[in-house]
Symmetry: C2
Subunit: 135 residues, 2 copies
């Protein structure tokens, strides 16, 4: 397993339309995508610095993980995503080291990425997404 | 002002020695630095993916912002840092747009970076550090 980059930072927002202007107009980071990921219960808006993306995450429903997160902790940074060369190897390597993963098979995330998450209890309170670019 | 990259993600930890092996040995991200930043009241350990760093932040004392953060919210992601081409321009541009900054003059952060922070109330609950590489 090799970590290649910080792929993105996921930010839980109440309303992506209201949050976008800060990233887009005030900071001037280019908006490059807008996608609904039904499996994760989120609508995403993506801004790309060219070296790492900001992904705004708005809940699709009240039982979405993002809605629950905002209720519990408020809007803010939800997770970080690291790009891996090979998601299958990453899952095998981390599980054999006793790291707690949320999915033991790769799921399809935003932008067609193959993903899993390290549980925050295995990562010092940080929700770490691992993502392999679609082949 | 131009945002060039996600420079790093700052993670509040109780004990950097205990937290480092996850990033270093399990994920295999290379440790590239270890620095005390007295002005920010933190000891940092830096891991570099080559495209974005992970910066562990351990409080130097109980009145450090990191100690207060952990007491209030627990260990976890504390801030994100975006690299800017020119910190002075960034400060001027954002202040004139009504964005609330924590420092209106650049401070010296880890690795000699010239930094300020956008207050979370201006950034949807996210503490955003802006950093210019030392010239």
């Amino acid at each position: 397993m090799k970590i290649k980059a910080i792929e993105h930072i996921g930010i839980a927002v109440e309303n992506a339309g209201q949050s976008s202007p800060f990233w887009n107009h005030l900071l001037g980071i280019k908006k490059t995508g807008h996608e609904v990921v039904e499996e994760q219960g989120v609508s995403t808006v993506i801004f790309d610095t060219g070296r790492g993306k900001i992904e705004l995450l708005e809940a699709l429903s009240e039982d979405s993980a993002i809605a629950k997160y905002i209720t519990k902790k408020g809007a803010g940074i939800h997770h970080i995503c690291l790009e891996v060369d090979d998601i299958e190897t990453a899952i095998t390597d981390l599980q054999s080291a006793g790291v707690n993963l949320i999915y033991d098979q790769p799921q399809v995330g935003a932008e067609g990425m193959l993903i899993t998450f390290v549980h925050p209890r295995s990562a010092g309170g940080v929700l770490v997404e691992l993502a392999q670019k679609p082949v």
